[in-house]
Amino acid sequence: MTSPDLKKAAPSGLLGRTGLTGLGQARHLGLVAALVLLAAVGLVTRPDTFATTSNLVSILSLAATIGVITVGMTFVIIGGGIDLSVGAIMALASVWATTLATQEFGPFVMVLCALLVGTGAGLVNGLLISYGRLVPFIATLAMLVAARGLAQRMSDRKTQLVQAENTALVELSTTRWLGIPLLVFIFALVVALGWVVLNRTTFGRRTYAVGGNPEAARLAGINVRRHTMLLYALSGLCCGIAAVLIMARTTTGSSTHGDLYELDAIAAVIIGGTLLTGGRGTIIGSILGLLIFTLITNLFILNGLNTSDQLIAKGLIIVVAVLLQRRNLKERTL
């Protein structure tokens, strides 16, 4: 998993090909090294359970849901914004798609519903931010609260099961291909698409421009407002996809899904080296950051350690990662 990622990382980023590539690579190398280190800890402490297929598959399945959200979050943060509402939007989409009224139309419409609800909520974020001139933090905070509330209202705070006739949806997590559940492939596909859009399309180029220097982007003739709006809609779409994955994995839609996912996604993006000020960052970095986080969770569970200690470890990792990157950044500007 890690070595092809690394190869992809080399030509990534707009900075490509010049002297910066080496350091960009070094930054990803650091993340890969951290992953290898964590894997080594796993192998030493739990040689019997860590390297088993079932454990690795469960790590990837766990990572898939937040991973899809992290892709959208990477776009938003590179574009100079932040999206706090991702977990709540995912919960809302999962609830909306599992109401009995929606389920009547079958699994395909359920998926469509989740995607539309996610994109729609993201679009509302985008409209508030780009045309309503709300600060992203505030607009998406409001969405976090409101979407969670709406999800509770729709579900009456009950967990909604995926009905027997719609189990085709659940097969996304039960069907395996090469021993790996389909939902992991969906995750990989979203990552690959995200990478392509960010690095090979005008949309991606504009995202870096809008986040790096919005005034320059505007004066260069980029419709900054529309682009900002689209970024949040994209993040919402990713939440919709994540909702499909979590419905498949848990066979439920619930207003409690995705609690604090926004923090994990933002942390993964930061650890991956994306600047919160915008204009710089990579999808690969974010995914590596997320894998590090998921691996830590896994190691703590395997070793039967306290979840509170796990949170402390994660907090430390965020700080260490940012400190290391700051040093990297200084070297580069010199």
């Binding site: 707009l14 005008t202 870096y208 004066l219 260069a220 980029i222």
Partner: protein
């Protein structure tokens, strides 16, 4: 009181100050005169501890003075009031005045004492009506300036530099400013006063030092008796000759742009194909506003016609689609993506032209960037480098190159040679003229009168938001234009 001798300061590619002398006596209002780029700001920043001189000596009140930071300068009794006031809008008047040295005991600020000190300083400035507890954000520009001065006084400043303090003020407020300066000088405080308005200098100044191209051309002339002629010619007599390309031989073609009463009544002019129209005027005279209004980056009164048809003021992206391009005044803040490559910066204005269904053709993009980098001689000749590693002149060329992609009809250039050294300037001039020869219309803004005159076919002179003169560049000379744009504000 202050003696600066042989100050030299070099920036990469430019010698900003070349053996500058400045002598200021206690209790005098000393005026610093010079065109944009003459080195006034650099000199001030050395005094304020922002820059360090490469050579030269400074003595202040008889002691050697080498400020290492703005705070150090402030402690030594030296305060600067910048054009852009550095006040904290959300804090009260008293908190602003005493910012950095609030009276406190054990970390608790003593508000009563702070307010009393502030009240006392404001009274000394003749403004007891400004209440120390008012929030600064709610004050008028003039009142903010008073607060700025009060802050300088609260530090027991012996020397206060005022950088174009009258620029933001109305006439009666300027009179009040002068009253304060007289009181300060009467108390023995020295004031270095920078202004482009010669009338003001006569009114308030005791002596004048003239800077030109980073050199002192005259130290300590009497401000009241030196004839205006002499001052203007001291500022203009060039030692550095700019090389301007020859003007177009053929007459300009069809009208591209026409504006009527744009940003203000009477601001009406047109730009034709193959024509370079220069806007001359001081900073704040409304030049940039005109460019931004044409480009849709600013809402303004008036009408804009492109190719004879009136267009509704849109956003920049609609104007770019109509064939306009703007090279803005603040290169780093408004034009460049510093982290990215020269290529990415060049193609930013025309990304759809390099893409099919949103998919970027990166090979074609790189090819076009390489072609333009060659054409404009961007150095080093590697468009994949991050643009922040280039010099200012080459960055500016990349900004120009951005609008050479595709078919631009009209370029709006705001201070295209700011921060660009003399050699690169000549190249930029040649590029701009070549564009015009290809039939592109150019609307050029520059603070440097010789540049406007040398490069343009036609010149518009702006003063305080009004278009006061239009003529062919060949009919004007530097002296006449400077005279027009620098008429004092005290005699409206």
């Amino acid at each position: 009181m202050l003696e600066m001798r042989g100050i030299v300061k070099e920036f990469p590619g430019v010698r900003a100050l070349d053996h500058v002398d400045l002598l200021v006596r206690a209790g005098e209002a000393h005026c610093l005169l010079g065109q944009n780029g003459a080195g006034k700001s650099t000199l001030i920043k050395i005094l304020a501890g922002v820059h360090r001189p490469d050579e030269g000596t400074i003595t202040f009140n008889g002691a050697d003075y080498r400020p290492s930071s703005p705070l150090h300068a402030l402690r030594a009794g030296f305060a600067t009031i910048y054009q852009e006031l550095d006040l904290v809008d959300g804090l009260s008047v008293a908190e602003n005045i005493l910012l950095g040295h609030e009276p406190a005991r054990l970390g608790f600020s003593l508000r009563g004492r702070a307010n009393a000190v502030a009240r006392q300083v404001l009274a000394r400035l003749g403004h007891p009506e400004i209440r120390p507890t008012t929030e600064v954000g709610r004050l008028s520009p003039a009142a903010k300036q008073i607060v700025s001065m009060a802050r300088a006084l609260s530090h027991e400043a012996k020397l206060i530099v005022m950088d174009e303090p009258s620029a933001a003020l109305a006439h009666d407020e300027v009179a009040n400013l002068f009253r304060i300066i007289r009181e300060l000088t009467a108390q023995g405080v020295a004031v270095i006063y920078i202004s482009h308005r010669l009338e003001e200098i006569r009114e308030i100044g005791d002596r004048v030092t003239v800077l030109k191209d980073g050199r002192t051309v005259e130290v300590g002339l009497p401000a009241r008796d030196t004839p205006t002629d002499r001052l203007v010619s001291l500022m203009t007599g060039r030692t550095v000759e700019y090389l301007f390309p020859p003007r177009a031989s053929r007459p300009p073609g069809q009208e591209i742009l026409r504006v009527e009463d744009l940003t203000g009544p009477g601001v009406s002019f047109s730009v034709r194909e193959g024509e370079i129209v220069g806007l001359a005027g001081l900073v704040g005279s409304g030049r940039t506003e005109i460019l931004e209004a044409v480009y849709g980056a600013r809402r303004a009164a008036g009408r804009v016609y492109l190719h004879g048809r009136q267009v509704r003021p849109g956003e920049p992206h609609t104007m770019v689609r109509r064939g306009l391009g703007l090279a803005p005044e603040e290169r780093k803040a408004q034009a460049l993506l510093l982290d990215q490559s020269v290529t990415a910066n060049i193609t930013l204005g025309s990304l759809p032209g390099f893409a099919r269904l949103g998919w970027l053709d990166r090979a074609r993009e790189a090819e076009e960037a390489r072609r333009l980098a060659d054409l404009l001689a961007i150095r080093p000749p590697d468009p994949e480098r991050p643009i922040k590693t280039l010099s200012g002149g080459n960055q500016q060329k990349a900004v120009l190159a951005r609008w050479l992609v595709g078919n631009r009809r009209l370029l709006l250039l705001d201070e295209p040679t700011r921060g660009v050294d003399v050699g690169a300037r000549a190249e930029l001039y040649a590029v701009i003229r070549r564009l015009a020869d290809q039939g592109i219309g150019v609307l050029l803004v520059s603070s440097e009168v010789p540049e406007v005159l040398g490069l343009s076919d036609r010149v518009l002179v702006m003063r305080e938001g009004a278009l006061i003169h239009q003529a062919d560049a060949a009919e004007l000379d530097e002296h006449a234009v400077l005279d027009m744009i620098m008429q004092g504000s005290l005699t409206p």
